[in-house]
């Protein structure tokens, strides 16, 4: 029963596909209110995508903001038959990869950079910090991307696979492994 409750909660938080579709179309018509609603509904997912690639809170925040400016500029190119969230995240991913190339920021983060995650956002709780640090510090790059995307975007595994250019089976195994690692970490249990 616990899982049922969890699923329901998640469904409420995950942006609805049809609603996003409508919002993107309205944004393409120049309605700033639609962009504002889009921002409200998807900024977490966009930030998750950006953070999973950049591994730096400040850069991820910048890319998140830039993504919505880019969406405003190019929403008319969105084809409504597709997945709106996948389209939004493709924009974010491209910008994040470009930022990564520009900054040549490859490799691990310093302790200061980890601490920068909550420092910039008053809404971030100690628990948020813990779970983000767990995701960023204990997961491999691909595991982190998959789990952050699945957690925040509501994309299906097949859509995540397409977005990350991985086989679905790989996405599934990385997702499960990531979740197990996080479970283990949260429980403070050393797995074998």
């Amino acid at each position: 029963m616990l899982i049922g409750a969890v699923i329901q909660t998640m469904e409420q938080e995950i942006p609805d596909r049809q609603a996003l579709d409508r919002l993107l179309i309205s944004t393409a018509h120049g309605e700033q209110e639609a962009l504002a609603e889009l921002y409200s509904r998807t900024r977490g997912a966009v930030y998750g995508m950006s953070l999973s690639i950049l591994k730096n809170a400040h850069d991820a925040q910048d890319v998140t903001q830039d993504t919505f400016v880019r969406i405003w500029e190019s929403a008319e190119q969105y084809k409504s038959s597709g997945s709106p969230m996948a389209w939004i995240l493709t924009v974010a991913r491209n910008l994040a990869l470009m930022r990564l190339r520009q900054s040549s920021r490859i490799g691990g983060l310093t302790e200061e950079e980890w601490d920068a995650i909550p420092a910039d956002a008053p809404a971030v709780t100690a628990e948020d910090r813990d779970i983000l640090q767990t995701a960023l510090a204990t997961l491999k790059d691909a595991e982190r991307q998959v789990v952050l995307l699945h957690a925040a975007s509501g994309l299906k595994f097949r859509e995540i696979a397409a977005l990350l250019e991985m086989p679905v089976s790989t996405v599934l195994s990385k997702y499960h492994r990531a979740i197990q690692k996080m479970h283990a970490h949260l429980k403070g249990v050393e797995t074998l």
Partner: protein
């Protein structure tokens, strides 16, 4: 906290940590888009490489008025919307329509013509997606060694009157080029730019047999030094042009061929067919020069040639008269201890073959081996099509992607024919078909996952244009059948209708014996599109006992130790040699598996082992840099 779902916690944390500053976004959204496009970023692909960055090339191109274009309107499919050019020294131009399908692929110079020979002169790329074509061309550039140099560069230019589209295509294609280079462990840099059409620039580019993108780069150089001639600059490679621009264009470099000839002459081997050469331009160096490496009989000789005068700055003269000294070998065939005149150790040319025994110049051109071992994307594509008994013009959505599996090159070749999706894995060296899967797209599944499901109780709603809808009940039945369960055995059964790309799908979820099942069922065929199982309470077990989710299909469990042993044996390692060894029990598609991870040095190994028999289902090896 242990009762919380980590995914839910992550989603919440991301919402809290994500920027919440709509005002800043909106303040940037009203600006009218102009015609001046910021161009380019230089891509650095490696942190351990010598760093150079190209300053942003300011792009101010005259806007060509669309209205004067002659008033000829083509059908959308045939009208050229974007021109994408790829320049290394070969210059190739792709013309694409608004749907980003290639209308033509043209070689702009002889080197490009040679490069495109195995793609039917570029005709094979007609009708493909832009990204597929770019992928194929970059793959060919790699195979033919054009990006082997230590500091090679590729220029990608997108010309389009729709600036937003140009920038988007630029970003997407740069990501693809970057990915192809990364997959090949190639450290070439990617330069990119977006430009609007300019007929005058196009004309000059055509006269010099180069792309508009390269012509634009040359214009930037001439703007810095008006004494330089367009035609002569057009003969330089992208890497030379980039360096020249960065150095402020002080003069006209002698060029790669002249540098090579100077080195050959100095070495006394001009005209000797046994000598091969690699040349790298270092025009942005404080002492601008060309690095020329000559290879002869397993020995490597390095020369520095003044970039503007052709004077030999360093290198071994008359190499045929001096025998290599064995004690100056570099063990791995690496770069030479340059025999600069002041170095004292005169005869320091380094036999690179020496004690390694295999394939020469591992030092500076790591991908040299690919020239002989990698069959290339075109051959892989041909192998897949041949296996399927199809010709390329019969199929659609043809995509070829290079991949590595455990250090071996593979090509994933996908295409669609007659509503069937073909997925091939082709051996990158032998061209053998490693794997082949077919999947029906619209029609009823006849093979594969088993459940062709009920026939045409064509469903209720079906607002999808073409297909029928099997309905929620049939979707539920298909999922249960796949899981081998009856409805009265499961709980929390939920069925939800969904649309994906215009197609009806059903998401069917249920719980059985502490395992959550998540299915995606094709709304028209009842085929299982996706299946996922997960223990209701996440637990990672150590031994072979474990959780309650072991109900469904797996009957035996060899245990974690056996899985660990199988993985280590496959890797050729022992437990005492590795670190970070983890074994986790998991379910994949209803099958009990063990995920085994460990590290050996900086190499990370991931294995998926069948719990029933210890078979290796999947394995990956990544170098952690």
């Amino acid at each position: 906290m242990t009762e919380r779902n980590p995914e839910q916690m992550l989603a919440q944390a991301l919402n809290h940590a994500a920027p919440d500053d709509l005002h800043t976004v909106l303040s940037q959204c009203g600006a009218k888009k102009g015609n001046v496009i910021d161009m380019t970023e230089a891509t650095e692909r490696s942190t351990n490489k010598k760093k150079w960055t190209l300053g942003l090339i300011a792009a101010v191109l005259a806007l060509v008025l669309l209205g004067g274009a002659g008033g000829i309107f083509y059908h959308q499919s045939y009208a050229v919307a974007s021109v994408v050019s790829l320049d290394v020294n070969p210059s190739i131009e792709l013309r694409a329509n608004r749907n980003e399908k290639v209308l033509s692929c043209a070689a702009m110079n002889d080197e490009a013509a040679a490069l495109l020979a195995d793609m039917n002169g570029g005709a094979d790329l007609k009708g493909t997606e832009l990204d597929v074509a770019v992928n194929a061309i970059v793959g060919s550039l790699l195979r033919n060694g054009y990006l082997d140099g230590l500091s090679s560069a590729i220029l990608l230019s997108v010309e389009d009157d729709d600036q937003n589209r140009a920038v988007r295509i630029q970003e997407e294609l740069v990501a693809i080029v970057d990915s192809v280079l990364k997959d090949s462990s190639n450290e070439a840099s990617v330069l990119s730019q977006s430009l609007t059409a300019d007929s005058e620039l196009k004309a000059r580019a055509k006269e010099s047999n180069i792309s508009s993108g390269k012509a634009y780069l040359i214009d930037q150089i001439i703007a810095k030094n008006g004494n330089l001639e367009f035609d002569r600059l057009a003969t330089l490679s992208v890497k030379e042009l980039r360096d020249l621009l960065k150095a402020g264009a002080p003069g006209m470099p002698i060029g790669i061929e002249a540098a090579k000839q100077a080195a050959l002459e100095y070495a006394g081997v001009k005209g000797n067919n046994a000598v091969t050469a690699d040349v790298d331009a270092e025009l942005d160096d404080p002492a601008p020069h060309y690095d020329v490496d000559l290879y002869l009989s397993g020995n490597e000789y390095e020369y520095h040639i003044n970039a503007y005068t052709g004077e030999v700055l360093s290198g071994q003269k008359n190499i045929l008269s001096v025998k290599p000294t064995p004690d100056t070998q570099t063990p791995s065939g690496g770069n030479i201890g340059t025999q600069t005149p002041s170095g004292g150790n005169t005869g320091t040319q380094t036999p690179s073959g020496g004690n390694t025994g295999n394939s020469g110049n591992t030092g500076n051109t790591g991908s040299a081996g690919n020239k002989t071992t990698d069959i290339g994307a075109s051959a892989a594509k041909a192998a897949a099509l041949k296996h399927a008994g199809l010709r390329e013009n019969q199929v659609t959505n043809l995509r070829v992607k290079k991949d590595y599996d455990d250090g071996h090159i593979e090509y994933d070749v996908d295409f669609i024919y007659n509503n069937t999706e073909y997925e091939y894995t082709i051996h990158g060296v032998t061209g053998a078909v490693i794997d082949c899967e077919t999947e029906l797209i619209h029609k009823k599944a006849s093979t594969g996952n088993g459940n062709s499901s009920s026939s045409g109780n064509s469903g209720n709603s079906g607002n999808s244009s073409s297909s029928t809808d099997i309905g929620a009940e049939a979707a539920k039945a298909a999922a249960l059948k796949h899981a081998g369960l009856r409805e009265n055995q499961v709980t929390n059964l939920r069925t939800k209708k969904d649309y994906d790309d215009g197609h009806i799908e059903y998401d069917v979820d249920f719980i059985y014996n502490n395992t959550e099942y998540e299915y995606t069922i094709h709304g028209a065929t009842g085929m299982v599109l996706d299946c996922d199982t997960e223990p209701v309470r996440g637990q990672s077990s150590s031994g072979n006992g474990g959780n309650g989710g072991s109900s469904s299909s797996t009957t035996t469990d060899a245990g974690a130790e056996a899985a660990k042993a199988a993985a280590l044996k496959h890797a050729g390692l022992t437990a005492s040699q590795v670190s970070g060894l983890r074994v986790e029990r998991d379910y994949e598609r209803g099958r009990l598996v063990y995920e085994v991870e460990f590290r050996y040095g900086r190499m990370e190994y991931d294995y998926t082992i069948d719990a029933a028999n210890g078979a290796i289902l999947d394995h990956e090896r990544d170098y952690d840099d």
